[in-house]
Amino acid sequence: MSQALIIVGAGHAGGRAALTLREEGYTGSLILIGDEAHLPYERPPLSKAVLQGSTDLAGCSLCDSTRLAALGIEHIAGNPVSRLDPQQHRLQLADGQWLTYTGLLLATGGRARRLPEAQPPVLYLRTHDEALALRDRLRPGTRVVVVGGGFIGLEVAATARGLGCEVTLLEAGPRLASRVLPAPISAALLALHREQGVDVRLNVALECIHADAVQLVDGQRLPCDLVVAGIGMQPNIELAAAAGLEVGQGIRVDAQLRTSASDIYAAGDVCEFRLAGVYQRQETWRNAEAQGRHAALNLLGRALPFETLPGFWSDQYHWGLQTVGVMTARTVSRALPGAGLLLFYLDDDARLQGACGWAPGNGAARDIKLCERLIAAGTVLNPGSLADADVSLKLLLRG
């Protein structure tokens, strides 16, 4: 049989994989299957520029239809995969058609987690169409309640404030984005949002949502026109699970991003891989980009271990947050210009493991990139030099 590679999921990871396969010289049949009607796009602008109305779908697309056609990538939209049969190396589309593959990539991503009872006034933000639906509702003076103090909730709150909405943000935990951020940065985010006029409430529990208000467990009633929930992502593992592939909180893969079926790989938000020995998923642009590309190389037989460091960014108002690597218990901090902050995470030998920067604009970007190189170099560092804002990280890198 001639080669036929199929990618299920036409989001960022799937789209990047398809483009990489062609860039790497793969000339066989290549099919990209997506649920959404759109060409592959990047999601970070959805909660910011798309919501503001300052960019459109073309502005976040990985490529246009002309390029996709020129590359000979067959894009199937609106005819999702209903069944996967790993034993026969084939899958079935919703219209009943069977497609046979020699290699398969599952980049099925996820969907916005829903509040337990489906409530009509609640909006979510995961897809481009959801962003447009939300954008149409954000008008000056609109009273918005955002449920969830993670990145989607915080970015929606920031954008909504910029559009003149009145925003209340509810977080169940004691601090913002606590799963992925250190306490000092959570505190800085909280201060920024309050300064920008968001009514942030921590440690609150939702009782129910009415058509015109949100009711809290403590009895408070928050009148509103609109509720947006950013309470996490549900990975789309059903297809893989039904096919008997190994799944946990995502589709489980080995160091090469290979699933429990030897000709099937997984990448992106849905991919559950080991990081520092622990199975986890990374719901980030960086992971979609890196794993999409990496899975493509391994579909071509490269057998490369996936070793890209995790990392993410978030933009809120005129501030930017950027991270790389992993957090540890040993922290050193240095001041960044403009009241910013850079936190270093060291291991017991004072080798850098991760960093988190918070600064106006993209002011932390350069240092985070240098931290990424310092982590890779494995240099033993002097905590005093790291704390000293006058010591250039480039200098430390070059020793």
């Binding site: 990047r16 602008p45 976040c60 980009e289 590309r293 350069r366 990139k369 240098l370």
Partner: protein, 108 residues
């Protein structure tokens, strides 16, 4: 079409192996000084998602975009691989009496 030389800054305002953002009229540029003390200029925004490159990291002759790690050789403007595939426009630069000058093409 004429080249018009514009004053950017004093030579000392850009460190070796570094970059400066320079806005002029409706345009934004990135002006580079190499470790060998040569000066170069490119368009100021990444061709991927219109981010100011001057917030990025310069290592050797490569500028890395602050957000998506798109990389360009700032001497030629050449994009060095995904996620960037469109090259940066470059502009002539010269140093005169301790000042860095940038040539922009006057659109007449």
């Amino acid at each position: 079409m004429n080249d018009q030389w514009i004053d950017v800054c004093a030579v000392g305002e850009i460190d070796p192996e570094d970059v400066l953002r320079f806005d002029h009229g409706a345009h934004t540029y990135a002006v580079f000084r190499s470790a060998e003390d040569e000066f170069f200029a490119t368009a100021g925004l990444c061709t991927h998602e219109k981010i100011h490159l001057a917030d990025g990291l310069v290592m050797d002759h490569v500028i890395e975009c602050p957000k998506h790690n798109g990389r360009f050789d700032y001497r030629s403007g050449k994009a060095l691989g995904a996620p960037v595939c469109v090259n940066l426009k470059t502009y002539p630069v010269r140093v005169e009496a301790g000042r860095v000058l940038l040539a922009v093409t006057a659109e007449i």
